[in-house]
Subunit: 564 residues, 2 copies
């Protein structure tokens, strides 16, 4: 493509409202433009990368037997009422009426639509398992769209859905999809982790999020230094290798700790490390109260606590509730001597402590030389804390590190939720009707494009991995007033295209400095410069990533490009 | 693809609400399903054909230097106010509000969006001409969606826009686009005509509609039996080869024609053919009255009349107006002796008449032996009638025939309308700001799919042209309980796929009759049947179109498929 005949509107300045690198670079290099808040146009370069991402996704979906379909963006409100999501989803669900005042939804996902189709068209177990997918525009009315393509209101998703009679069949498709996702993100040049994630409220089971590691990520991942293990920190289990301390148990003693409220204040006052104290918090879990005990240096993970307690809502109790129930403020709570009506849960790490400190349920007093199994009433040990960097990995291999990540995909065993709501059944091999079970699998296609830029750039601009670059090669004529250079440029453009190389040819009458700067900004893998040595048939080749330059003859260039 | 692993829900019965062949067959053969009125899902087979159509469109757009982009479906209402279309378009424009009560449009086209981008990003004539295109979902809230994919509310369009400084540049891009469209529809196996069409209200100039000939078409085309000439009948010019009659002029005479009102009644009463009478109609054109005269066997074309008169609105005058202005009812109107205030326009064919009949502006009386140039006051000759079958073609080559057509594409010289409304200017080579001129070019992608089926089917089902078939070959095992047949079927499936043939393999445990009927319905170009002679390594090959069957060995089959 000749640059004079396309639209690559580069920007010298960083746009004021672009707050992350991918957003800045995609705007500056002329890949996208914002139409209005959270809604973007993909300009020619952006659309080319999008097409490449879609091609990779399509190939890997087809390879695992996915059937491509295309469902409508407009969805009937009635279907969303059947699933219950019409009421459950808030204003992020875009709703509209047609000319007859019938209500519609602009689809953010397609569970309802696809389940209704399968309900109507699939009658027998013989037609299962079935996997369909689509690459399609989705809508979500974000309250605060931001980060460019990372959190927009109109975006491109690959969404896939699989239907099964049995859990084993769902497990197999889930694994096939998991593997396909790993291949897709690897082919796209992304540094990613498949992390164990929270299955949320829809009654699903296993789920993994595919996270591109990036400092702009909105999620924190805990991963192992020595294995594939990775999980959202909200979900990361703690490895239970705690065994009782061998310390000699000392005698329990109540001491005065005037005005010492935080774990650190108490530890400093009593002269012991913070992990020699126990932290005690009172939670309201639905309608009950729960006393939760962790080591002083650990933090309670409320998601884990919710799972352990099988409750919908959990929140810290009020000071008033603590005083009424336990007789003290939050700074002096403890599990010793509490009423049997109050459930006590200790984190696993508490198994291994001895002669520690905890609140005495009396303002300004703590117990020292506390030993849980000796001193506490009835309680249980559960995994209820956040994992920490340096902890052993839950699979026993290596230790945990943290990273930030951008969610680029998710695989999810949905189970029977939608099939139940919409009544999707088939006849099994006994001729009896059975409710389907289901998986759903998403990839944020436009978001993936941004994630690639987050991972592949330098100070001068984007550095596209070869496999996703919009063009393989950037051809530049240094002096467009020099006939020899222009002639060689034109000839090379023809020759490279004839050799099957995708070339962006900067044939514009711009200064060389502008062309070079824009070329770095756009970030194609290879730059070929036709300059002063054009008369000798010599060009300069520069690799964008290594910044290595080399002068070579046309023949050497043509030999080189065959290796691209 | 194994049929057991995909979703091809065929129907034996014709769905009650499917009123045209393409709609019936695409439903029955399991290519599409309706989600609700005017909104469809493309099932795996339908999506495969859609992908093929899109690929052809993309290749031909790229070949003429089109730059693929992707603009959003959500468009700001403000842009539509700038263009004036927010008010001009009625309820077919889908409108919605976001959570902040800002108004949006779901794009039926993208003139506003693309013009706003070019306005903001293109600053110099050096960046022109520029052609961008996209393949994208559009929305249009049809009052009465019908004919399946032919008139839906959510559909796929290829829309392209070109931007220019000069009319000559626009002409060149228009011609390139016209030629590309011809190649696209030829490659898709369509019998089509590029017809001259009405440029409508937006102030544009040349426009051609690409019409797939079909009896379900909503438009009538006039085309030449001997040349490329084709036009919407509303636009077809009449070839002006009329020369004055050589008859001897007889004396004008007023005769009584009691209660004879229609042309036929008067002709019968006076004993002459209908084309020996003149038809006179009074029109109200904006605020003036115009008397329009045609030969008795011709019909006034109001669109031509509007163009001739340069008016916005035209309608037949009321009886009251005729009586007040001319002193008679409609059945007895004529152009002789009318006031000079009334404009008189005669159709070109009137040039060649002699000694004809016309109304006398007196109820129940006509003139006979009328000769216009002798008897009429001031008048002009204009081309104001509908062309008729049998007329000479306007290009002088052949005669005119009529056909019905489905509009599958349109090319349109929009001119400066949108650029003016949105203020899209560039600096010309003198450094002065000039308003852009613009072309727009559409292809109904999903509609094209339906048009192909309208043209390619028989009583048994669809007959896909090879180049758009979802699979090249349908492989069928007659008896799925026969191990030899199944083994050969499986082996052939592998072998054909390895040879790069796209195979649909009916591996289901269905009766042979069902498989054959569904195979004809789906309509792949070649069917390969593994039956009783499996043990001898012999299969049957059937061409869907010719219905020719042939038994052959596996080797012969593999040699044959190389020719596909």
């Amino acid at each position: 493509m000749k640059q004079s005949q396309t639209l690559i509107p580069t920007l010298k300045e960083i746009p004021a409202d672009a707050d992350v690198t991918s957003h800045q670079l995609l705007l500056r290099a002329g890949f996208i433009r914002q139409n209005f808040s959270g809604v973007y146009t993909f300009l020619p370069l952006g659309k080319k990368v999008l097409n490449i991402v879609e091609k990779v996704v399509r190939e890997e979906m087809d390879a695992i037997g996915g059937n491509e379909v295309l469902m409508p963006a407009l969805q009937s409100a009635d279907l969303w009422r059947e699933s219950g999501r019409w009421d459950k989803m808030g204003p992020e669900l875009m709703r509209l009426n047609d000319r007859h005042e019938r209500e519609f939804v602009l689809g953010p996902t397609h569970e309802e639509v696809v389940t209704s189709i399968v309900r109507d068209e699939v009658k027998s177990y013989k037609q299962l398992p079935l996997t369909v997918y689509q690459i399609q525009t989705k809508f979500r009315d974000e309250r605060r769209p931001r980060f460019g393509l990372l959190r927009g209101r109109e975006f491109i998703m690959k969404d896939a859905y699989s239907f099964h009679l049995t859990d084993e069949s769902l497990d197999a498709s889930y694994q096939a999809m998991y593997d396909a996702y790993s291949r897709i993100f690897t082919r796209l040049g992304l540094n990613f982790r498949a992390v164990i994630a929270d299955s949320g409220a829809m009654g699903g089971k296993d789920t993994h999020e595919f996270m591109a590691l990036s400092k702009v990520g909105e999620d924190t991942i805990a991963y192992s230094t020595a294995s594939d293990y990775a999980a959202n920190i909200e979900m990361a289990e703690v490895y239970d290798n705690y065994s009782p301390s061998t310390e000699t148990l000392k005698e329990l003693e109540k001491v005065s700790t005037p005005n010492k409220k935080t774990m650190q204040e108490v530890a400093d006052f009593l002269g012991h490390p913070i992990d020699k104290g126990l932290k005690t918090l009172l939670f309201k879990a639905d309608e009950s109260f729960v006393l939760v005990v962790t080591r002083g240096d650990h933090e309670v993970n409320e998601i884990k606590l919710k799972h352990v307690l099988h409750v919908e809502n959990i929140e810290l109790a009020t000071d008033e509730a603590a005083r009424e129930l336990l007789g003290a403020d939050f700074g002096s709570l403890g599990p010793i001597g509490v009423s049997e009506d109050v459930q006590v849960i200790c984190d696993l790490a508490v198994k291994a402590v001895a002669n520690v400190t905890c609140g005495a349920n009396e303002d300004g007093f703590h117990y020292v030389n506390v030993n849980p199994s000796r001193d506490f009433g009835e309680f249980t040990y559960e995994d209820i804390r956040f994992i920490q960097e340096g902890d052993l990995s839950p699979d026993g291999k290596g230790t945990i590190k943290f990273a930030e990540g951008i969610e680029i995909g998710q695989v999810f065993k949905l189970g029977k939720f939608y099939a139940n709501q919409l009544g999707a059944e088939v006849l099994n091999d006994q001729g009896r009707a059975e409710t389907l079970t289901m998986g759903c699998y998403g990839i944020g296609v436009s978001r993936t494009l941004a994630a690639i830029v987050e991972q592949h750039h330098d100070d001068a601009g984007i550095v596209w991995p070869k496999q996703v670059a919009p063009f393989a090669l950037h051809l530049i004529v240094v002096n467009s007033k020099n006939d020899e250079q222009v002639a060689l440029g034109n000839a090379l453009y023809e020759q490279l295209q004839a050799a099957g190389i995708e070339v962006l040819y900067d044939d514009r009458k711009e200064r060389a400095g502008v062309k070079f700067a824009e070329s770095d900004l756009i970030g194609l893998p290879v730059r070929v410069t036709v300059g002063k040595k054009a008369s000798e048939g010599i060009i300069e080749l520069k690799e964008r990533k290594s910044e290595e330059k080399e002068e070579m003859t046309i023949d050497a260039l043509m030999a080189y490009v065959k290796t691209i």
